[in-house]
Amino acid sequence: MTGNESLAPSDNPSGGSAGHSSVSGSNTGHQGVSPRKKIEVFSLLGVVLIAFGLPLIMTSPTYLHIVILIFFYAYLTTSWNMVGGFAGVLPLGHAVFVGIGAYTSTILSLQYGISPWLGMIVGGVIAMGTGVLIGLPTFKMRGAYFALATIAFAEGVRVMVENLNFLGPFNLNGPRGLQIPPVNFGFANFMFQGKEPYYYIILIMLIGVILLTWFISRSKLGYYLNAGGEEPEAAMALGVNVARAKLIAMAMSSFLTALAGTFYAQFSLFIHPKSIISLDLSFEIAFIALIGGRGSIAGPLLGALLLRPVSDFSRIYFGDVFPGLHLVIFGVVLILVMIYQPRGIQEPLTRVYNRLINRLTKEGQAKEAS
């Protein structure tokens, strides 16, 4: 008798209830979708509203400047992430695209009077061509070799620009760089007296590029990039032309990066090779991505939010005593993150966020039920 009794309940959990629990689990998941989505949409709207309202509250130009640079770096890193994150390679020469964008639009506007808005697109297209030309031979390389090749190319371009006063008819002005005289303010000239218009321009650019990344990550291209980045041979056998997917990502990434170059030129009104085609800039983009979380959508934004203030404040407070301290801090943070959170700070934050939302939705459901 006792044997039978012990058999009966032990049979049930192994067969029936395993299936049951999974079914009920997926059921609650489905019901949970709508309040969860609601919370997500509302919090997203809230963040966007705060972002748009920020200049009304934050009137100090210094702080606004810092926030603009945060968005600028978040934009650059999100663009970088299409190749460096999704495609699983490590490009370390993206400053070259920033430089192409900045120089193209600035030369076109200084020498030919063409609006920087138009120059921005021209710069983007030139950068896109350059990106594809870099990608064609280098995407066959693996790991560090690809990174080294991109560094070499970017440094080559920087040295070339530093040593050229004229490239054909275009005045590069060598190491002295180009200055944009602050006259003819207005939207058509992409030049403003206050910082607010720059703030809104980079904010809209940032939202645009994040939306694009989100869209790509859910598309065939995103799946193909991820697959090709993780296991190229398996991906090829499943119908993925890995090299082509990477080239498409590189083309988009370099185009978008160059747009930020034009923004930077118009924002600072002064560009020179050391500031804009420098390895420092290329590395900083990669740092932000690695710390924030490569290959995730929120990673670049989180990384920029964390690291840019560190960089700016260490420059403000220690700049005289300890120049370059921000790079040391970057290094320390990078080492700590790589040891404890190799997928970047987005992973623990996502976990906390999910737990929070789950608690909120559960409470919401409980309230609805009662």
Binding site: S22, L238, G239, V240
Partner: protein, 241 residues
């Protein structure tokens, strides 16, 4: 109708001849087994047929078309899928994500691809694990994932490279059942396997290679009693047993 015709295929890597004037063909709807000792060139032959290496000499025809120079991704879209001996899951992604990558071979829409991936997972009794990270799967499930991804590309010919190695006997029987089910659904199957019990039960015909050369071809019964095969591969005990 022959779905695959391989004629006098030679594959050399430098001075090493991995596959030597190999002839073989597969009928539509057939299960062909390929066996041989380690290093005989079985996986190399698969790689040539799947487009990873173009063969040094000879011709490969898939569906009557010469595919010597075609790339793996083009062949995949024409209906030739394969699994890897050493499994290669997209480890940081879920099972469903992995299979959806394969399903994108025939559609551009994510919703369609996911639906198809789910249908494939259902036919393999794999649906309950769709949310698991593929890197955390057991070896048996990883092998099953290899097949699921390949199936999601809607193949006409499926190359299976040792999908049963490392499985427990019960799991081998289940896999044999799955493969027979695939053939019944109209897919032609070319399978490399070391587990004799499985390959004898599955195959309509078996090709045996050694040092890249074909040494025997025939029904499982003929192969089991072939003296060359017993000497080269099966061993004396198998012949007497």
């Amino acid at each position: 109708m022959k779905i695959l015709e391989v004629e006098k295929m030679v594959m050399r890597f430098g001075g090493l001849t991995a596959v030597d004037t190999l002839n073989l063909n597969i009928d539509q709807g057939e299960i062909l087994g390929l066996i041989g000792p380690n290093g005989a060139g079985k996986s190399t032959a698969f790689n040539c047929i799947a487009g990873v290496h173009p063969p040094t000499e000879g011709t490969i025809k898939f569906n009557g078309e010469n595919t010597n120079q075609q790339k793996p991704w083009d062949l995949c879209k024409k209906g030739l899928a394969r699994t890897f001996q050493i499994v290669k899951p997209f480890a940081s992604k879920s099972v469903l994500y992995n299979v959806t990558v394969g399903a994108f071979a025939t559609t551009d829409k994510r919703a369609d691809a996911e639906d198809k991936a789910l249908a494939v997972l259902q036919t393999l009794n794999f649906e309950d694990k769709k949310e698991l990270k593929s890197g955390s799967l057991t070896i048996a499930d990883r092998k099953r994932l290899e097949i699921a991804r390949a199936l999601a590309t809607e193949p006409k010919l499926l190359l299976l490279d040792e999908v049963m190695a490392g499985l427990r006997p019960g799991e081998v029987d289940e896999m044999v059942g799955i493969i027979q089910g695939l053939r019944d659904s109209g897919i032609t199957i070319f399978v490399i396997e070391h587990i004799m019990r499985a390959i004898m039960a599955l195959s309509d015909r078996i090709v045996v290679i050694q040092f890249g050369k074909k040494i025997a071809e025939g029904t499982p019964g003929e192969i089991a009693s072939n003296e060359n095969v017993i000497k080269a591969y099966l061993g004396e005990e198998y012949g007497t047993a």
